[in-house]
């Protein structure tokens, strides 16, 4: 075969391949690569949207480093992730194990747990706004029996600690003000995120069913208790799925926006306690029209996410158990 003919065929194949994949790479160039390049440039500019961008070097990044609100949203986002991801993971695994028992009627229970995850976020936010109403919401009605317990604990703390009471405990005793309390607004958001744990449960369920039955049978022959089987067979078997869920959870919590935005009516929450990274980015861009500043925030977010994902992978390589690998 002549080399020229081979090259011609390669070129023809390349043309065919590029033609087929065109829907993707055209979109990639037009809606992703170009905007991201623009964004990188704008992050070094002062760009109030109505006037053309002016190059100001790294001033945006320097300003971010000294911006107390930026620090606050960073901490808030990390706190939310540190609460919502571990709690959600533990709850999802426990629920998946519960739903994986061989019992009739499990289909119905699965549906019940999964339904909240398809509810539009705005609708869910509205429902929770009502549930969390301090005076006549369902949540505080359910918490009312706990009030004596909370005030008792607080009195005990006061007696031990020289009359100092914990303000969040006093609030719990009186029925938390939830979304208008700086102590409880974050807890409310975590609570709502736990309501949407169903899609993770489905993924864990699929993971549970990938664990070979033989392993359980062998463990049972060795006399391992249910708790030990869970710890030594179920958890290692699930670990790749847990890693996957933690990564998607990290990516998701960094983007948390719609829920607090609707709950707080676009404001920053009590004492800025529910003001998150993406909300501040959004406000900078579309409320204060500081496009350069917002772009700098976006690039820092991308770097943080890459870093966190890398970290999770690195930790995972050392602890995650891949079958047959």
């Amino acid at each position: 075969m002549r080399p020229a003919g081979g090259a011609g065929r390669g070129r023809r194949e390349l043309r065919t391949g590029l033609l087929w994949t065109a829907p993707w790479w055209l979109g990639f160039l037009f809606f992703l690569a170009v905007p991201m390049g623009m964004s990188l440039y704008i992050s070094f500019c002062d760009y109030p949207l109505l006037q053309p961008p002016v190059f100001i070097g790294t001033a945006n990044y320097a300003a971010l480093a000294g911006d107390p609100v930026f620090g606050k949203v960073l901490v808030n986002t990390l706190v939310f992730a540190a609460l919502a991801i571990p709690l959600g993971t533990v709850l999802a695994i426990l629920l998946a194990v519960l739903l994986n028992q061989n019992l009739p009627g499990q289909g119905l229970f699965r549906t019940c747990l999964f339904v909240p995850t398809v509810v539009p976020l705005v609708g869910a936010a509205l429902v929770w706004l009502w549930l969390l109403n301090p005076e006549y919401g369902l949540i505080n009605a359910a918490l009312r029996p706990l009030a004596p317990l909370a005030s008792g604990a607080n009195e005990l703390i006061a007696a031990l600690g020289g009359g100092r009471r914990l303000s969040w405990l006093s609030e719990l005793a009186a029925g938390p003000q939830w979304l208008s309390s700086p102590h409880w607004a974050m807890a409310a958001l975590v609570l709502i995120s736990l309501w949407g744990v169903g899609s993770a449960v489905v993924i864990y369920l699929a993971g549970l069913q990938e664990i070979p039955v033989d392993l359980y049978e062998a463990a049972m022959l060795d006399g391992a208790s249910a708790a030990r089987r869970f710890w030594h067979v179920t958890l290692p078997g699930l670990s790749p799925v847990i890693l996957f869920n933690v990564i998607t959870g990290l990516i998701g919590t960094w983007q948390i926006f719609a829920l607090p935005y609707v709950l707080m009516r676009g404001e920053q929450g009590p004492g800025r306690s529910t003001y998150f990274y993406t909300m501040y980015l959004f406000d900078n861009a579309f409320r204060y029209l500081k496009m350069g500043y917002a772009s700098a925030m976006a690039w820092i977010q991308l770097l943080i996410m890459l870093l966190l994902t890398g970290l999770v992978f690195w930790v995972g390589r050392r602890t995650v158990h891949y079958r047959g690998g």
Partner: protein, 349 residues
């Protein structure tokens, strides 16, 4: 008797489960999960049988309790729409509205009616009739906008992703793997990062204040969908296409007449998730839409909530119900497709 459940599972639960796992053989042996129940408790000594009964009872109690907690907010939402504002302020709250707790039961639909009524402006001092304005929550208009975006984008999502996925799965060319790696890497880029430059881009195109930014990009593939469809295409035997090509079928013919019809389950997953994403999307409409005439349901609901000071809870819940209910119906109709999609891709609904 309870223990027999271990063997005779109702079809409703076993069918999707088998699909999830992909191979029926291992599953057929029953799944010995963490707390796996012994298969035939009747052969066991009485103490062990008692333990099984206790465990099954406890498991059911937990399952019922947890399910109730998860469904309660939605039941409460629907129930609230049939209550009066006074009823909603009652402590402790009741699950059922008063109308349903009497005989004969009555449904109070006034909250829905008020929602659709036009808002009347303030009466001015000269005793003139108040001007009727648009309803506080213009459901038909918002639903029409949402459905318009849905229809315009859904066609694009299906066509563009299927074509690109076929290219990555079946058309051999140099650099294909590298290109696909880039495609997968774009999944990592979160929306907030491109939020600002996309806005600037669409502003230059003059698309701000139109529906275009919400459906035009759908005509270009997205990494998740391409990945999902490519995986599915790879699972279809190559021989089908090879024999068709021997018979003179073109590549396009193979794609159109063989691959697409065979990929209906995967396309259904893509379509379903897209419908859900469009219906639920708040950020996109919030950024790109400027006029109330173009609002989608999610944005309309958010708008109603943001100025909710004067809207009573039963009307807010009625609006929420009208937005949420179609999604729930769609979910219940297509539950298997949903669960399969989540289990195979890990996309969260």
């Amino acid at each position: 008797m309870a223990g027999e459940g271990g063997q005779s599972e109702p079809r409703a639960t076993s069918a999707p489960r088998r699909r999830l796992a992909g191979d029926g053989t291992r599953r057929a042996r029953g799944n010995g999960s963490a707390g796996g129940l012994p298969r035939s408790p009747r052969c066991l000594p009485p103490r062990a049988r008692l333990r099984t009964v206790v465990r099954v009872t406890l498991t059911y109690a937990l399952l019922i309790g947890v399910s109730a907690v998860y469904v309660l907010p939605l039941v409460g939402m629907v129930s609230a729409t049939f209550k009066t504002p006074q009823e909603l302020k009652r402590v402790p709250p009741t699950l059922l509205p008063d109308g349903l707790r009497q005989w004969p039961p009555q449904l109070d639909l006034r909250a829905y009616g008020r929602l659709f009524q036009s808002v009347t402006g303030p009466v001015d001092g000269r005793g003139r009739e108040p001007m009727p304005g648009p309803p506080a929550f213009d459901y038909p208009l918002y639903a029409r906008n949402t459905l318009l975006i849905l229809v315009l984008s859904l066609a694009g999502v299906l066509v563009s992703n299927a074509i690109a996925a076929y290219g990555f799965a079946r058309v051999p060319f140099r650099g294909r793997n590298a290109l696909f790696a880039v495609c997968l890497a774009t999944m990592m880029i979160p929306f907030p990062v491109i939020m600002v430059p996309s806005y600037i881009l669409f502003k230059h195109l003059g698309w701000i204040g139109t529906l275009a930014p919400l459906w035009v990009p759908a005509w270009f593939g997205s990494a998740f969908n391409i990945f999902l469809l490519r995986q599915f295409f790879l699972g279809i035997p190559k021989e089908l296409e090879e024999s068709a090509m021997l018979d003179g079928c073109s590549r396009w013919g193979c794609f159109w007449r063989i691959m697409l019809p065979l990929s209906r389950p995967a396309l259904a997953v893509v379509a379903l998730f897209h419908c859900l994403a469009v219906w639920n999307d708040l950020v996109g409409p919030l950024i790109y839409l400027t006029h109330q005439d173009q609002f989608t349901l999610a944005l309309g609901l958010q708008f109603l909530q943001s100025k909710a000071g004067d809207t009573p809870w039963n009307q807010l819940m009625a609006a929420a119900t009208l937005v949420v209910l179609p999604v729930l119906v769609l979910f219940l109709l297509a539950q298997r497709t949903f669960v399969r999609g989540i289990a195979t891709t890990g996309i969260k609904g």
